[in-house]
């Protein structure tokens, strides 16, 4: 059973991620006063991209994207979906923290190979942004770890079932707010959609991606969306015992994210970093201190 889940789970994550992509396009369209594409449009896009010929720019170019995708897939395995978490025992939050860097790094590796100035600008933005949100994320995760006294995310979820959602419990609410503040950056939505920034740097790292590379990048994007939302549900909103309830919670988070996405333009990278290192980090630090002081 366990082994089956190991293979099934990433697929579920992928499906959910892609559906979320479709849904987000639909919801955005509504706020734009239009109908938007069919919900399955991203699936069609990905199929189309896989069937197109694509030019490679070298081995690292191929490898990087796979690496990034692998990173995301591994994270997925650590995240409980409802009650199920294929790799629940080991690592947990720390693994996630590390693996979350793998995505940007892989893309950076790959895109760096394409020698397109837009791509290199995009990479630098991506890495800076990753560094930008890693710091508050670390603070948040540390607060959770010290509060719940565990590094396993499954444990966190289990404990919340006893104590209520951590977002509703003091002092974790502070860290929770900090997490929500960096969530747009993790999801790479506006105002932090500055890695792709099609109007500025022609979709940045992806500028040379075509065909199956782009398809993989899209898949990776869908997965990272899943990861970001799933992590917040697990950490802040108590996870769920039933996958459907879990999905519902994810949906709510997604909607909140989309509202923000629809309401703001994108920031410049230095403004983004300044923001991330100021308010979320500050709040995260306060949250950590409170968690350490008030906690056991």
């Amino acid at each position: 059973m366990h082994v089956v889940w190991l293979f099934l789970y990433p697929i579920v994550a992928l499906v959910v991620g892609v559906l979320f992509l479709g849904l987000s396009r639909k919801v955005m369209a509504r706020m734009h006063w239009r109908y938007g594409p069919p919900i399955l449009q991203p699936v069609i896009d990905i199929i189309r991209l896989f069937s197109q010929r694509s030019a490679s720019h070298g081995r690292l170019f191929d490898l990087g994207i796979v690496l990034s995708l692998a990173g995301s897939l591994i994270i997925v395995l650590f995240l409980p979906f409802g009650d199920v978490a294929p790799l629940s025992g080991s690592g947990g939050l720390l693994v996630i923290l590390y693996m979350m860097l793998l995505g940007p790094l892989g893309i950076a590796l790959s895109a760096g190979e394409s020698a397109n100035p837009n791509a290199s600008i995009g990479i630098s933005r991506k890495l800076m942004l990753a560094i930008g949100y890693e710091l508050p994320l670390l603070l948040v995760l540390l607060a959770f770890m010290s509060r719940y006294n565990t590094i396993s995310i499954v444990e966190v979820v289990r404990l919340q079932r006893a104590t209520g959602w951590s977002i509703a419990s003091f002092p974790l609410v502070v860290s929770g707010v900090a997490y929500l503040l960096i969530l747009p950056a993790i999801l790479a939505i506006r105002p932090f959609e500055l890695v792709q920034a099609p109007q500025e740097i022609s979709s940045g790292p992806m500028v040379e991606y075509g065909g199956s590379y782009l398809a993989l990048a899209k898949v990776q994007h869908a997965l990272s969306m899943f990861i970001g939302i799933s992590l917040s549900v697990n950490l802040l909103f108590g996870g769920a015992s039933h996958p459907l309830i879990f999905l519902l919670k994810m949906l709510v988070i997604l909607m909140l994210g989309l509202f923000v996405n629809a309401a703001f333009p994108r920031l410049r990278i230095e403004q983004a970093i300044r923001y991330l290192w100021r308010w979320p980090s500050l709040i995260g630090l306060v949250g950590l201190v409170l968690a350490v002081v008030i906690g056991r």
Binding site: R25, A29, H32, W33, R34, Y35, G36, P37, P38, Q41, I44, D45, I47, R48, L49, F50, S51, Q52, R53, S54, A55, Q196, P198, Q199, S202, S203, M206, V207, E208, Y209, G210, G211, L214
Partner: protein
């Protein structure tokens, strides 16, 4: 089982993908671009047809050549076209690429675009309305269904001739041939 039937079935999803996911290069080649923003935004909403503008040619499979093409733009167009991954479709938008249009006697615009890159469909009008873009999209769907949208194949087949014409207009192309050009 019939072998052809099998091939057809296997190809069906890809074909479906090509049809319903036409991502257009966003390239304002001429004045026709003025009708593209309305058609991709709230009033007409081309995304319902799966048509989206993309930032780079690598991600696109549809090239809307919007309006007249000056010599300088032709270079960029060929560049862009060659960067697009196959299969790719081109649609000439407005009168000017068909036969010169308004600028039939201008020294600096291309008269027949299909002599430089292959075109799968033309939209008449000056300007064509957004609805015409949608009809062009459905037209392209039909062509893809019937395997008639074969511009990229023609480009391969006649690459030498295309390249010769391109070189004639743009003295010296500063990039190597996309496909090997055999001596004829």
């Amino acid at each position: 089982m019939d072998r052809n039937q099998l091939v057809k079935w296997l190809k069906a999803p890809a074909k479906m993908g090509h049809k319903y996911s036409l991502h257009a290069v966003y390239f304002c080649t001429g004045c026709g671009i003025i009708e593209v923003p309305p058609s991709i935004t709230a009033r007409w909403d081309a995304e319902r047809f799966g048509v989206l503008p993309t930032a780079t040619p690598r991600q696109a499979n549809l090239f809307l050549i919007t309006g007249y093409v000056s010599v300088k733009t032709l270079r960029a167009i060929i560049r862009t076209y060659e960067q697009m991954p196959e299969p790719k479709y081109t649609v000439g938008f407005g009168s000017c690429p068909i036969n010169g249009g308004m600028y039939w006697d201008s020294y600096n615009t291309i008269k027949h675009l299909d002599r430089y890159i292959p075109i799968d469909g033309w939209i008449a009008g000056c300007m064509p309305r957004p609805e015409a873009i949608f009809v062009a999209v459905t037209h392209l769907w039909t062509l893809i269904d019937k395997d008639m949208a074969d511009g990229y194949k023609r480009y391969r087949k006649h690459y030498a001739a295309y390249r010769a014409n391109q070189e004639k207009v743009l003295r010296g192309l500063d990039w190597p041939p996309l496909f090997p050009v055999e001596e004829q």
